[in-house]
Symmetry: C2
Subunit: 135 residues, 2 copies
């Protein structure tokens, strides 16, 4: 049951990055939770703790995103933490690497994002990237 | 019950920053979860998903911390997310501001850190800082 939900969470996480790359606002919006409080920390921004502000931030990002923007994500670990499904991943943006925490809660039996935080990190060296991964 | 746990989580969060400022490794160690998987993302580091690596990172940080180091934290919001008590806060380090997510799970009726991620952010402008705060 948990393993199946981990796989479904990783699918949702793939959809998150697919929406990010495709500048698909509708898909991005549909992935966020509606029944739980959400938080979003884009690198260098002020933290966003209001759902409307979070969705607006994605609108702004999609408008300002360069044509050749592409983020490749590498899952480090997906695990169940309390009742949250937490995906820790690297975000590869050309030469720049970020580490992101994407937390999901199930609403109506669907994994929905409740928290996204991305921050600059050193590129992975010896970390074994695996997908899907269970703690 | 939830409100009482939020207050206790914020006390643990105060203890986290107090250990950070005092370079108190024993106190820092005692705050981390022992029954749940932990993750720690220091700004610019590689993500740490191994408890031993996390504790070692604090050892290194305390050794290399300048004498006058002081981080002041400002709680933005503490809320219950699924079964996780999540503290979102600004970290003020002189001119530098970070935003941190500190997630806690209760173990043996004590709030224990399971996740810390700090990332550079714009200084707070119009965000109302309140403490304690409930979503």
């Amino acid at each position: 049951m948990t393993e199946a939900k981990i796989v479904r969470t990783e699918f949702a996480n793939d959809a998150f990055y697919s929406a990010f790359n495709a500048r698909d606002f509708d898909q991005m919006s549909s992935l966020w939770a509606t029944r739980n409080a959400c938080s979003c920390m884009h690198p260098g921004w002020q933290p966003l703790v209001d759902k409307e502000a979070i969705l607006n931030s994605w609108k702004q990002i999609f408008i300002n995103q360069p044509e050749d923007f592409f983020v490749k994500h590498h899952v480090i670990k997906t695990h169940l933490l309390g009742s949250i499904f937490s995906v820790l991943c690297f975000e590869e943006l050309g030469e720049v690497w970020m580490v992101a925490t994407n937390n999901y809660l199930f609403e109506n039996d669907e994994p929905k994002i409740v928290h996204h935080q991305a921050s600059p990190c050193r590129p992975p060296e010896d970390i074994i990237l695996s997908k899907p991964s269970i703690q």
